[in-house]
Amino acid sequence: MTRISGFLFRRRGGPGSFGGWHWTDIVTFGWLAAGVILMFGPALWLVLSSFKSPAGLAEFPPTLLPYETRTAVVEGYDKPLPLFVVTDEAGTRTLAEVRRVGTVAQMVDPANPGEVQKINIQTRTPDRRVGFQWSNYTEPFLAFDFFLYLRNSIFVTFMATVITLLTNSMAAFALSKYEFRGRNAVMLVVLATLMIPLSVILVPLYSIISTVGLLNSLWGVILPTVATPTGVFLLRQYMLTIPDELLEAARMDHASEWQIYWRIVLPLTAPALAVLGIFSVVWRWNDFLWPLIVLSRREVYTLQVGLNTYAGELNVQWHFILAMTVITMIPVVIVFLFLQKFITTGIAGSGLK
């Protein structure tokens, strides 16, 4: 306990501070607390909401936890009856509702099912307890080929990341270690791609993909996305810090350029490659608009596209979409948790100093 409080209340102290608290400590503490609530809170809300029934989702005020109305099996009735807590002049008690006609509910005491009482609906509230609607998660799996989509998503993510790492590092190597005419022009061209949001070139891009014959193919999803400008710049910045003398020495030892790239530069760039790899995994896993355009055949859907099949023209089935959203979020979070350290060391080392 003291360790936790030591952790939480560690402060700057020193001269000029008030009882050990410097104003920067207060700001720090407040900022971090706000950070946890603001950053994790909404995600927690998403996860909890994904367990609610459609009626629960439509409720206002919304409840924090998902609730299910308790039911009871009452003698003389086939189906279990929902339980309500009734509060009126006769006191507070729990009754099971047989049916509701207009503003009057016909209810019975589960222990004494013979007598039907007529209760005004405004005096009753559902008797609820926390209940997780797991069917939100299981039904879509049964209805659609979750494992097929998972396999497709993994394939796309993995191949795209491998190709991204390879092509971006090759380009970064050329742009950082070679002097040639038109180098700046090439850099400008690479930057040009940052300027163009996908939603803007949809139609021309579709016709190109269609002409090349990559429609409804996972490669049609992979190939356009691998030449990332951010990746090229990140790696180039990092490679700039590799001393040229290393390369010169290797050249004097009759190493070919390819060997220099493969044996020297690439291993030295490993931290930046790890960062790019993580980003690539996150980007490709979350890619939505582009796969939606390229893939209209069920066998090749990725998870994000499959997730969206529950958005119809006139009604959206939120309970399924929320559950599927949580599922697609999990791998990204796992990747992040395990490889977190690389992100910061990689960015630090990329020479953005």
Binding site: A143, L215, L292, S296, R297, R298, N308, E313, L314
Partner: protein, 423 residues
């Protein structure tokens, strides 16, 4: 001897295989769902596949967005599925396949689906391109329990929009609901009421006519009701452009006593409201010229670029057969578009909810009240353009960004530009 026998045998088998693959084909269906239609159609198709093992039917469930945004591009590129469930049927009519030469009984289609065939084929054509998977009709829903609690009587047949809004406003005052009523954010939705006030979108030459007195009358009412707090502001103001926003959740939450939407909501309302309150379908309230709703629906059409027209025709014939249509409608709670099924009646809707059957019957009756100006709209190729322009600009008026007069000018200009661009 043995070797040559095996060689001959394998040769025959190979020939056999080749022969069967020459006839077998893939039939790919692009399908979207609002509710349970996806499961129902998959079940029905599995029966077809059992009876027709040589035809490989593949059902691709997609989001509606794919059908609305990407199908057109696929079709223009000469690609796309073999069959598609589509709502924008008239605009894309040049891409549909004429099934007539492949059907075993074209007259059956004429009899049972002929009334709506113009909705999905080019003007002047007599092709059979597909059939409506359901008919939808716009109309109102009322929260009977809220009305009862407030002691306000539900307006009866022949009640006008003013009557309904006044009654709903009384319920709003008594029960402190968020608003009195809401309409889905859609130009299609307000077109029935516009026609009820005498509007006619279609000019003498078949091109869009300027916004007329009927449309203006209802638009003025809508804006007034919104500023008075009677119409739920959120629905129309919460997005820009022609983005669709339904107000169903507000009705389900009992935040509004009256909701103007359409018959496709019935299954959704039944599932989500459950036992919460009693709700009824009300038909369309009346204006000065009628009590009209607007028809519509999604059609299942065959695509021109299919490589397998014969197999496509077989699948379509199965799905259009009377028994299959009846079962599909009963399980999805949709109104059938098949004349034979409608005439025979006796639908046993797959639901325990008593509200559903009553609501469906109300809509079936209300179908007889559709005015000619509204009946012509689904078959008119400028329909969606008109709807888009209306919702885009009227919602800006409701948000306080322009006046109604400015909006009318802009609506006409937006539509005129689209017509000009298409030439």
């Amino acid at each position: 001897m043995k070797r040559s026998m095996t060689a001959a045998a394998s040769g025959f088998v190979a020939l056999g295989l080749m022969a069967s693959t020459a006839f077998a084909g893939d039939v790919r269906i692009m399908w979207y769902s609002d509710g349970v239609e996806g499961e129902v159609i998959a079940d029905l198709l599995s029966r077809f596949s059992a009876e027709n093992p040589e035809i490989n039917v593949i059902l691709d469930n997609v989001a509606y967005k794919v059908v609305q945004e990407q199908l057109q591009i696929q079709l223009e590129a000469g690609e796309g599925p073999d069959i598609a469930r589509v709502t924008n049927i008239k605009t894309l009519a040049p891409h549909w396949l004429d099934l007539t030469p492949y059907l075993s009984d074209a007259a059956y289609w004429e009899t049972n689906f002929g009334g709506y065939a113009d909705w999905m084929r080019e003007d002047g054509s007599s092709a059979i391109n597909g059939f409506m998977t359901q008919l939808t009709l716009t109309g109102g829903f009322a929260n009977a329990t809220l009305f009862e609690q407030a002691g306000v009587a539900l307006p009866g047949a022949g009640a006008t929009w003013d009557d309904w809004v006044a009654a709903a406003a009384a319920v709003q005052a008594s029960q402190s609901t968020t608003a009195a009523f809401a309409i889905d954010r859609s130009g299609h939705r307000i077109s029935g009421p516009n026609v009820s006030y005498g509007a006619n979108y279609i000019g003498a030459d078949g091109k869009p006519a300027p916004v007329d007195a009927g449309t203006k009358a209802f638009a003025e009412k809508l804006v007034a009701w919104t500023s008075e707090g009677k119409m739920l502001k959120d629905t129309w103001v919460s997005a820009s452009g022609s983005t669709y926003r339904p107000a169903a959740d507000d009705f389900i939450n009992a935040a509004i006593p009256f909701y103007y939407s359409g018959s496709w909501q019935i299954a959704n309302l039944s599932t989500k409201i459950g036992d919460g309150f009693d709700w009824v379908a009300t038909g369309s309230p009346c204006g000065t010229a009628g009590c009209s709703g607007l028809g519509g629906g999604a059609a299942l059409v065959a695509v021109k670029y299919t490589k397998n027209p014969e197999d496509v025709a077989k699948v379509m014939e199965f799905l259009a057969s009377e028994a299959v249509v009846k079962e599909f409608s009963e399980r999805t709670l949709f109104l059938p578009a098949h004349a034979g099924v409608v005439a025979a009646g006796g639908m046993s809707w797959a639901t325990d909810d008593p509200n559903v059957e009553a609501a469906l019957n109300t809509f079936i009756e209300a179908a007889g009240q559709v005015e000619p100006n509204a009946a012509a709209l689904p078959a008119w190729k400028w329909g969606s353009v008109y709807y888009g322009a209306l919702v885009n600009r009227i919602s800006q008026v409701m948000a306080g960004e322009m006046t109604l007069d400015e909006a009318y000018v802009k609506i006409d200009a937006d539509i005129a530009e689209q017509v000009a661009a298409a030439n």
